[in-house]
Symmetry: C2
Subunit: 139 residues, 2 copies
DNA sequence: TTACACCCTAGACCTAACTCCAGGGTCAAG
DNA sequence: CTTGACCCTGGAGTTAGGTCTAGGGTGTAA
């Protein structure tokens, strides 16, 4: 069918390894997949999307445990729990965005210093940025 | 002097453990500190700034190796190397900022759905967000 | 000069998130 | 059928970034 995949195909389409998929299943980040009579896992296309969601969240600094608590489906007052989780994550994300902007600006200033120095003394080996960050003390 | 610290003070002021400081020194993220006759490390306040820089970069997803290559001081045409590194990091940071914004928006939409559902059916146990992620649609 | 908080090294240990391996079974093509 | 690519499990190994321990030395204030 167009919506039935073996683990290798899911791996290829979602960009993770077969081992990682089995690992995610063990960690309950993916529901236990149904099997063929012979024991092969049968996935559908939604698994692929879910893996992509996991990867995205992970790239942004969330742990598998955190992602798991967002994705887990047990407990009674689901909406309340999910809302609180989302609220916390959003606050976290805001903070991270802010300091990422600041760091971006800092690196931009460093880059400008480097360009300046290269223009001024193209053959100098002394990078003012390195002096500033790394050497910290003036020589 | 006001610019001489033992390792414990540096740890406290920079928010990392003593072990982490010694570990950073081993990894050459910090220069080998001078010692007292008895062998105690003597740090100055710039070490603290440097540790804070490392921590900030690390929080933003840079590995200690990457940070190290930015901070390392050997090689001849320093400025060129540092500029190229900074350039690459900035591009990376731009990409990360962009997808972080997108993820932020996605979570915001999820949160709105939750609030909506809680308003509409306060006692329902069925969270539409969980349903949606579990059967994810591509974003 | 003794008390006591603080520091030293080498090396073992820890957690997260994979990744690999041995030894074996499955399945579609020919 | 047979073959060869693909899949299974359980468990060991790996990497990054620390964290902890044992066994000892240091520094200073009373
Ligand atoms: Zn909800
Ligand atoms: Zn110059
Ligand atoms: Zn430079
Ligand atoms: Zn409803």
């Amino acid at each position: 069918m167009g919506n039935s995949f073996r683990i290798g195909e899911v791996a290829e389409r979602s960009g993770v390894s077969i081992d990682t998929l089995r690992y995610y299943e063990r960690r309950n980040l993916l529901p236990a997949a149904p099997r063929t009579p012979g024991g092969y896992r049968i996935f559908n296309s939604e698994t692929i999307d879910r893996v992509l969601f996991i990867k995205q969240a992970q790239d942004l600094g969330f742990s598998l445990d955190e992602i798991g608590s967002l994705l887990s489906t047990n407990g009674s007052s689901e909406c309340r729990r999910v809302r609180d989780l989302l609220d916390a994550k959003l606050t976290e994300l805001d903070t991270r965005l802010k300091s990422m902007h600041e760091f971006h600006d800092k690196l931009t200033r460093y880059l400008a210093e480097c360009e300046e120095e290269l223009k001024r003394h193209p053959d100098s080996a002394e990078c003012p940025v390195v002096v500033e960050i790394a050497h910290a003390e003036r020589t």
